[in-house]
């Protein structure tokens, strides 16, 4: 298993348009929409699968290499 701290899910809030695609496909409910933008609500649960980054149409969420 990769070290959990290898990559960290990161949000570029100014680019988020609140479509909710990342929230819908996150398998661990790490993300939620709050006031029309994505919020990381449970960082501990993130398994760094990258499903959010893969389908974010606005490049507003990604896994940042530590």
């Amino acid at each position: 298993m990769p070290d959990k701290k290898e990559k960290i899910v990161t949000v570029e809030k100014e680019w988020c348009k609140g479509c909710g695609i990342c929230v819908a496909y996150c398998p661990k409910s790490v993300l939620a929409l709050q006031d029309g933008k994505v919020e990381i609500v449970d960082l501990e649960a993130c398994i760094q699968c990258g499903q959010c980054e893969l389908r974010c149409p606005d490049y507003a969420i990604y896994l940042r290499e530590e």
């Binding site: 680019w15 606005d58 490049y59």
Partner: protein
């Protein structure tokens, strides 16, 4: 700060882009950039050409040699670029209307010539930029602003069209299966000849709203649930294909490439002279 991929390949000063919330075009553009990154291509040896429409805004955000041309004529300009600089990797970004209606003639002849260009069609089933008119890929019966009671026209299967016209590599992907789409784009760029990749995108603002297809997530999930990979598709009885569509690599053959044939002709004439 954006991701390394975005920093390396996008003109970040132009972001965020103009596409609507949930529009699939950003996902297709990322898959294309990821494909270029995976291949390790020199950015200065890549030229991205587009026509007009929502999809065709993409090159404005990309940090390659880029060319934003006239409606339907991306392939005509791209043919010129490739003929003048055959060492360039030429990639065309176009939409369903741009490629198959306004530029339909350019498309069939680029396929026929098998010129070494990779074309990625962002198919959102509508003319999004001008307000949601029906396009050649709007499914029969679906609505557009110019088809308020439903579209009477049978819709084009763009992949069949490209195959029949002579493209040597043809594939279809979706914005849900973005990893597979990236792999198909990689194979398309590697193919020495005309490569045609139809990327099933989403237009929640016009096509989706007009046809009660739900929001961006609903439309993306629709692509997840109704796309069937070629390997499984070929084993499926006809009645189970109803309402579904095939994705993956659909056609791949070897055929003489246009610029090589052209260079050969010039070389043979020089020898004679």
């Amino acid at each position: 700060m954006p991701s390394e991929l975005v920093k390396n390949y996008f003109r970040t000063q132009n972001l965020p882009h103009i596409w609507c919330p949930g529009c699939g075009n950003g996902i297709v553009t990322r898959a294309l950039v990821k494909a270029v990154d995976s291949l390790g291509l020199d950015k200065d040896k890549v030229c991205v050409v587009s026509g007009i429409g929502c999809s065709s805004r993409a090159p404005g955000y990309l940090d390659f040699n880029t060319l934003h041309t006239t409606h339907g004529r991306a392939l005509a300009f791209a043919t010129g670029v490739k003929m003048a600089n055959p060492e360039l990797k030429v990639i065309v970004i176009t939409g369903d209307g741009d490629s198959s209606a306004i530029g339909g003639n350019h498309l069939i002849h680029a396929c026929r010539r098998n010129i070494d260009i990779t074309t990625v069609v962002f198919n959102n089933n509508t003319y999004g930029m001008t307000g949601g008119q029906f396009s050649p890929t709007t499914p029969t019966g679906d609505k557009g602003t110019t088809a308020p009671y439903g579209n009477v026209d049978p819709n084009f299967d763009l992949c069949n069209l490209a195959t029949a016209a002579g493209a040597s590599y043809v594939a279809r992907g979706t914005v849900f299966a973005a990893n597979q789409l990236e792999k198909n784009i990689i194979a398309g760029i590697q193919n020495k000849g005309f490569s045609f990749i139809e990327a099933m995108s989403t237009c929640p603002t016009y096509y989706g709203r007009k046809n009660r297809k739900g929001n961006a997530v609903d439309m993306t999930t629709y692509l997840k649930e109704n796309a069937i990979n070629k390997v499984a598709w070929d084993k499926l009885p006809e009645e189970k294909k109803e309402g579904k569509f095939v994705i993956g690599e659909l056609h791949s053959i070897e055929r003489p490439e246009y610029t090589e044939q052209y260079d050969k002709l010039i070389a043979s004439l020089r020898k004679e002279g």
